[in-house]
């Protein structure tokens, strides 16, 4: 450990604060923090951050990490809504921090804005906003999210009509951010439930005309922890940053099970 770190343990990781840009307002970012080495319980910590209306919540978190407290921990990679790393609970709803603009969260004229940021719910918290995604991916792997076929490999590509492709187009858009699964009240209370994301990714292959594993996946989702646990709360559809009709996809899987027809 270097002397500088010991002198300023809570300084940002990139040194002194940059000049405040023109048009910025100071808003409070209230973050649910947890350090497994020192804390027994998570607690709230607030930071005042200068923000432009065009900033995203991810910029605010960067500001905190870079200039105020370098120990703040969260995931992010692409910063453009592609990789699905930074799902978190922002003002009580699951969103990607890189897709939420500050201007949409500003309090009315003259009032001070506070934005709350929490880790997504229902998965074990490692540190601050960083959760253990393994239970989520374990459910994802359990539905066999890959092409299952029999017979010889064709020498050319597997042809599919536009209409056949259309059936599962919506569910191909998933980026596995876990916003849907961790917004589901059934998942909050019972982590063995497969969760919306796993069902969405099963749907993507069940309704694919080139795939032959539909029966197998339907059997998996017919179990106690499968689709019948869904209470059509619609939180998942509301949370999905890709606009996937998640609840609709779950209902389509239920219908396929009910009539044993894909």
């Amino acid at each position: 450990m270097t002397a500088t770190v010991e002198k300023a343990p809570t300084a940002g990781s990139r040194g002194s604060q940059p000049p405040v840009p023109e048009g910025a307002t100071t808003i409070t970012v209230k973050i649910r923090r947890f350090n497994p080495e020192t804390d027994t319980e998570p607690c709230w910590e607030s930071f005042d951050v200068p923000a432009l209306p065009t900033d995203r919540v991810l910029n605010l978190l960067h500001y905190v990490k870079w200039y105020l407290d370098g120990t703040l921990t969260f995931r992010r990679s692409c910063a453009h809504g592609i990789c699905g790393s930074d799902a978190m609970r922002i003002n009580g709803v699951n969103r990607l921090a890189c897709k939420v603009l500050v201007k949409d969260l500003l309090a009315g004229a003259g009032k001070h804005t506070t934005i709350t940021v929490e880790p997504i719910k229902g998965l074990p918290v490692h540190k601050d906003l960083l959760v253990d995604m393994e239970p989520f991916f374990e459910a994802y792997r359990a539905v066999k999210p890959f092409l299952i076929t029999s017979g010889n490999e064709p020498t050319r590509e597997r042809i599919q009509s536009a209409a056949d492709r259309e059936r599962f187009d919506d569910t191909t858009k998933c980026i596995l951010c876990a916003a849907c699964t961790t917004s589901c009240p059934v998942f909050w209370s019972e982590q063995r439930y497969f969760g919306p994301a796993a069902i969405v990714n099963a749907h993507r292959f069940i309704f694919d005309s080139r795939d032959e594993g539909a029966e197998e996946r339907l059997d998996i989702l017919n179990d106690v922890d499968g689709v019948w646990r869904c209470r059509t709360t619609f939180n998942c559809t509301d949370a999905c940053p890709r606009g996937i009709q998640v609840t609709k996809a779950i209902q389509e899987v239920k219908r396929a099970l009910l009539f044993r027809r894909v």
């Binding site: 792997r141 019972e190 017919n222 499968g226 019948w228 646990r229 239920k254 099970l257 009910l258």
Partner: protein, 141 residues
Amino acid sequence: MAATLDSTPALDAPRTPRRAPVRRSNFELYSWLFMRLSGLALVVLVLGHLFIMNILDGGVHRINFAFVAGRWASPFWQFWDLSMLWLAMLHGANGLRTVINDYARRDASRFWLKILLYTATVLTIALGSFVIFTFDPNIGN
């Protein structure tokens, strides 16, 4: 270095499946379907029951032993009440079963809550059916 790499480390293979294998039973499917169908039937049965008992000529004030005896003399009302009893009890019990499945954290509490639920359900259904089938209008004489 090479010596340590030779032996395979005693670790679980990554991605070892942790879910119980599929049981291939349609129980959850049928119970889901039952909830929808019995719900529909109960809307008719219960609303009809409430209307007859509480609103139709005189409402609750005309209900006495003779009224009940007269009603249960007809197989139609016997069947109505019997199906209402069975459907409502099974519908409610199945609903509570899902609530217990969702919210009971420990296996032991889940087990005992379900035992309690199933006992109460069976007792109520048995008692109710017993009364409907063995009702004797001349019991007072």
